[in-house]
């Protein structure tokens, strides 16, 4: 603001620059000068029609990407009328039972003009099938669809625990999605390899980084085993990291992530396409850092975390709302969260210079240390898999290795909170004002659950039962042939209004179910 001209990047002659291998300083040379990050706000609750309204509000407020939160039954591949769905329908995301709901969800939204992210894992393939069927009904061909499917099943067993089928059967579905989108959906990101949930489940930053990249390597090996050349699918892999409160460590984590990914992709997996080497990521501020006490203070936490993501070079960002330690956000709270990003983007001028902390002795050292910690963990995982990261990740899940490490770190963090070593404002210190609970919270009535069950009953009544039964038979037949890609049968089933729960139970009869042996 004093009129000093700014260079797009700073660094010594001959030193590493952004946009150059190994991309520690950023995937692109000019970073936010040429393109700001995408302000992608995660939303979903109630029925598809309720969420459609929220989506339109996000677009009106200047959000430029949609991100769909599904409710628990949908995430677990159950219909809204399943007994286990009781109390969960539309509760922490939108309920999608069939193509009819998918149509309502995106009604009036131009899917060729906006990118759509869908956070779903066990039923990722059936949901993608419904999404494609819905877009094609609306006249948008699959090759024009841009967006991201989370489709990261490994971290479900490790951290988020939304698993349905056993690991190897689930990995077959991941493989089918990657093969399908590589061939038919050139603008689609087939997997969003996610550390967010690993961190939320209690891991350290180094564990988040190491487990996520290890899972990434596992997917690369999976796709290569399926015969896909690495440079055909790797450019469409993306990442999703947590933006936690430990400011500099988070920035170092993103920098280390880019460097490790580039090196492994080039040296171990033989990628040559620049886009296969460039790690691009979405970030979300840390839900676990929010407090129910004095919730307005969460706006400050979220701003600091979002700034770390931006200083670390995120391509896309979701900021949490201040009320999320207690409920899904109100529209007002979600708007303030989006405004937080807009202040960082348009008022602070931090976007003028790429990797502004590059060259800091502290940040460079922290980047190296995080990388070293990650390499130690890669060696352990590789050893569990006798040299294969794919086998190592599956073995580590079956042996509770990942789950145990995450629980241990979560407990250690809790210990420092309880002893007062780690201060959380409002929770264990500075409690004056905690008695104020005047914040309005979003309350989702049980009416929406009834309404969704009613909508589902109507769909079941109106559809062609013969087509449904034929589509399910085809799906089961294809599922029993391990080399057949399941996407065509799933899209066919979606078009016949086979419900999500029916697709998943047809697959389940062939695949079986995963049961976790819990460890404390």
């Amino acid at each position: 603001m004093s009129g000093i001209p700014l260079e797009p990047v700073y660094g010594e002659e001959g030193s590493e620059m952004p946009g150059v291998y190994p991309y520690t300083r950023g995937p692109y040379a000019s970073m936010y000068r040429s393109k700001l990050w995408t302000m992608r706000m995660f939303a979903g609750f109630g029925t598809a029609t309720d969420t459609n309204e929220r989506f339109r509000e996000i677009i009106r407020s200047g959000g430029d990407g949609l991100s769909t939160a599904f409710d628990m039954p949908t995430l677990m591949g159950l219909d809204s009328d399943h007994p286990m769905s009781l109390g969960e329908v539309g509760r922490c995301g939108v309920a999608i039972d069939s193509l009819a709901d998918m149509k309502d969800l995106f009604a009036g939204i131009d899917l060729g003009g906006i990118t759509t992210s869908m956070t779903i894992n066990s039923p990722a393939a059936p949901i993608l099938a419904m999404f494609v069927a819905q877009a094609e009904t609306a006249g948008v061909p699959r090759k024009a669809l841009g967006g991201t499917l989370q489709n990261d099943i490994l971290k479900e067993y490790q951290a988020q625990k939304e698993f349905v089928f056993p690991p190897r059967q689930s990995m077959r579905l991941v493989r089918d999605v990657v093969s399908f989108t590589t061939a038919e959906m050139p603008r689609w990101h087939s997997i969003s390899i996610s550390g967010y949930h690993i961190r939320e489940a209690g891991s350290t930053a180094a564990e988040e980084l190491a487990f996520t990249l290890a899972n990434g390597f596992a997917y690369v090996e999976l796709a290569m085993q399926a015969g896909l050349p690495v440079d055909t699918f790797a450019p469409r892999l993306s990442f999703f990291f947590n933006a936690h409160i430990d400011f500099f460590e988070e920035i170092a984590k993103y920098r280390a992530a880019r460097r490790i990914w580039a090196r492994w992709m080039k040296e171990k997996y033989g990628a040559t396409n620049e886009r296969s080497l460039q790690l691009r990521f979405h970030a979300q501020t840390a839900g676990v850092s929010l407090t129910a006490q004095q919730p307005e203070v969460n706006i400050v936490r979220t701003a600091v975390e979002a700034l770390a993501a931006v200083m670390g070079g995120a391509q896309s960002l979701h900021t949490n709302s201040m009320d999320e330690a207690m409920a899904l956000p109100t529209e007002k709270a979600a708007r303030i969260a989006l405004r937080t990003q807009q202040v960082i983007a348009h008022e602070t001028n931090v976007t003028h210079v790429a990797d502004p902390l590059g060259g800091s002795w502290f940040v460079e050292d922290l980047t190296n240390k995080i990388e070293e910690l990650a390499e130690v963990m890669f060696a352990e995982i590789s050893e569990m898999g006798h040299g294969s990261m794919l086998e190592g990740c599956i073995q580590g899940i079956e042996d509770n290795w990942f789950q145990g490490r995450i629980s241990d770190s979560a407990f250690e963090l809790e210990r420092t909170f309880n002893s007062g070593e780690r201060i959380v404002v409002g929770a264990n210190r500075f409690k004056e004002g905690n008695e104020d609970d005047s914040l309005d919270l979003l309350r989702i009535s049980q009416e929406q659950e009834k309404e969704q069950r009613h909508r589902l009953a109507t769909v079941r009544q109106d559809r062609n039962d013969v087509a449904v039964s034929e589509a399910r038979q085809q799906l089961q037949h294809d599922a029993s042939q391990p080399d057949v890609n399941l996407m065509p049968a799933l899209i066919n089933a979606a078009n016949a209004y086979v419900t999500l729960g029916e697709m998943m139970s047809s697959l389940g009869e062939v695949f079986g179910r995963h049961v976790e042996v819990p460890v404390i």
Binding site: L86, G87, C92, G202, I406
Partner: protein, 129 residues
Amino acid sequence: MPIRVLVAKVGLDGHDRGVKVVARILRDAGMEVIYTGLFQTPETVASAALDEDVDVVGLSMLSGAHMTLAPLVVEEMRARGIMIPVVVGGIVPPRDAEELRAAGIAGVIGPGATADEVVAVVEAAAATI
């Protein structure tokens, strides 16, 4: 005799960080802790509470389904004549906590609770038997 506690995850919510941390906190406080694992129903929790002969049942809920599922667990237990107190921990707003107490929940542990507060709620519930 140490207090015996069954900690349980009911329904589809897989967030298990809280339940695992709480299990260790209670164990460190000298209690005997049994964890059911994920995806339980009111029926399986009631059966486990009886089989394990516990003093307190703790439900961990982070998906917002506590208003539906927690009272169902209490109902199922009482219908079988099991009078063991039930406490709930998780993302429970203050207003919901009052309603849960009215529905027969013996104690509520909200977000941000310290280890001492967790132990105190379970001990108080155990003392009601």
